[in-house]
């Protein structure tokens, strides 16, 4: 990530704010980052991901929740793997073939419900994005 000053807390008052924050993060990516997204159902994880992909010149309408497919791949400015582990309660890393995905060193890997990975050790530093709040409430977003 180019701009380390992005690592702080944010308050997003609307879905548009969440999308815009994603865009800001996306603009700072240089390829090879791993982004772990945490937050409840409907917190805005996929929306933030849309923002990131928007910044990477990808058609955001094609960015959809991978809870069914587990892994979406987008050939944007960088190759982006978008994972969602919500329905995988055990052996999540195996189920999505995470080791193989991480072999692509320049690919950006975005993982929703990364808490399902438990003690998986990533080969490099990760960016953690935690989204708190749901429904119509404002979202507190912690990027670290």
């Amino acid at each position: 990530m180019r701009d380390e000053s992005l690592l702080k807390n944010y308050l997003c008052n609307s879905p548009q704010d969440t999308f815009d924050l994603g865009e800001k993060i996306g603009e700072s990516l240089q390829g090879g980052e791993i982004i772990l997204l945490e937050g409840g159902l409907g917190a805005g994880k996929t929306l933030l991901t849309k923002g990131i992909l928007y910044a990477l010149d990808f058609d955001v309408d094609e960015v959809t929740s991978p809870s069914f497919t587990l892994v979406n791949r987008y050939d944007a400015k960088f190759t982006v793997y978008h994972l969602d582990l919500w329905r995988i309660e055990e052996n999540a890393a195996f189920a999505v073939g995470l080791d193989e995905i991480l072999e692509n060193e320049n690919a950006i890997v975005i993982i929703e419900w990364s808490e399902r990975l438990q003690n998986f050790s990533f080969p490099k530093k990760v960016i953690r994005v935690k989204i708190e709040g749901d429904g119509d409430e404002a979202r507190k977003v912690i990027v670290s």
């Binding site: 587990l70 195996f94 189920a95």
Partner: protein, 358 residues
């Protein structure tokens, strides 16, 4: 023309022999649902290995059932995408090798187009222009077909697919996987008017779908009303049945609302409703009612043809073969294959990088 269809895009290995795009001589489907059930959904790694083990016996069975010798097959149609890469590759590689060995043509078929052709066997011929509402675990698209083989997306989901919303709600309530059939069953004993879930409005005014908000509304309702997920083997409360009925009603109303709105502008002569979710009886009834209201014939596939199958792939492939299309051996699986083949004004807007509005 005898076409051998092969489908392996997700979790069903299927083969079929179809004559002239309309007559099914055999259609064999091997479902992996039991393999994936403990995971609450398809696991790509397991799926591709299972396809590899099943594809040869399934093709053999399809030929035997059809009482057709491999030498009598005129062409092969195989699902090229969209789907899971490992799964698609099994079918595509198998089909290429077989076509090469037999020295016959083959074509790659878009899986979604296959679903459009799934109504070809048991209904009168489709009249154009037509609408095709394709709803499944991974797809929710409404297409406009001015003529056969031409597709324009006129509504699609912005987030979750409709079938996915069923699976998610089912998981929240611990009702099991896949969610569609169990929710439909419970909904029959529930009151669809009990809970008023909102139909998502897309703020840029396009008639697109959004099921993510509905999923969140259901999660919130469960939490605020302290609804406990169903215990394994335990009884199911009226509250949960009402929730299932209200949720299902909202999905179906949402799907058909855009159909009705767009039918007023584009005057289709046939409405095709297909894909895995087309099995849902509530969607079928509501679609038929809408068809009566709009004086629009509605075609569904039978249950067997609603799930992923190879007969529909053979039928779609027949159309392309008849038009002289034929794939090269360099053809590859295409995970995100698009069906839309009519240029739309959207592309112009995208080039200008118009600000994305939620």
């Amino acid at each position: 023309m005898l076409v051998l269809g092969i489908e392996s895009s997700c979790d069903e290995t299927a083969a079929a022999v179809v004559r002239d795009g309309r007559e099914i001589l055999s259609s064999v489907i091997s479902s992996q649902i039991e393999l994936h059930r403990p995971w609450g959904g398809v696991v790509p790694e397991l799926a591709s290995r299972e396809h590899l083990a099943k594809i040869d016996p399934i093709v053999t069975e399809a030929l035997e059932t059809a009482k057709v010798d491999l030498k009598e097959i005129d062409a092969i149609a195989v699902t090229q995408g969209p789907g899971l890469i490992g799964s698609l590759l099994v079918g595509v590689s198998y089909a290429k090798a077989l076509a090469f060995g037999l020295e016959i043509p083959f074509v790659g078929v878009n899986h979604i187009e296959g679903h459009v052709y799934s109504v070809n066997f048991e209904n009168p011929p489709v009249q154009y222009p037509a609408f095709a509402l394709i709803v499944s675990g991974g797809h929710t698209n409404l297409f406009y077909l001015p003529e056969e083989g031409k597709y324009k997306v006129i509504a699609r989901t912005r987030d979750d697919a409709a079938g996915e919303a069923f699976d998610k709600v089912s998981k929240m309530l611990n009702l099991g996987y896949p969610g569609g059939p169990v929710i439909e069953k419970l909904a029959r004993e529930g009151d669809a008017k009990k809970i008023r879930f909102p139909i998502a409005k897309i703020s840029d005014g396009r008639p697109d779908y959004s099921f993510s908000g509905l999923k969140t509304a259901v999660a919130r309702y469960i939490r605020e009303n302290n609804i406990e997920p169903v215990q394994d083997g335990g009884g199911i409360s009226q509250e949960i049945k009402d929730l299932c009925a209200s949720f299902q009603d909202t999905v179906v109303r949402s799907l058909l609302k855009s159909v009705e709105k767009l039918a007023d502008e584009l005057f289709p002569k046939t409405l095709i409703v297909a894909g895995g979710v087309a099995c849902n009886g509530y969607l079928r009834n509501a679609s038929e009612k809408l068809g009566e209201k709009l004086n629009l014939p509605v075609y569904f596939p039978s249950k067997h043809l609603s799930t992923d199958n190879a007969a529909m792939i053979a039928a779609a492939g027949y159309f392309h073969l008849k038009n002289g299309e034929c794939a090269e051996l360099t053809m590859n699986a295409d995970v995100t294959m698009r069906l839309q083949n009519i240029e739309v004004e959207d592309n112009e807007l995208k080039k200008k990088k118009v600000r994305y509005k939620l």
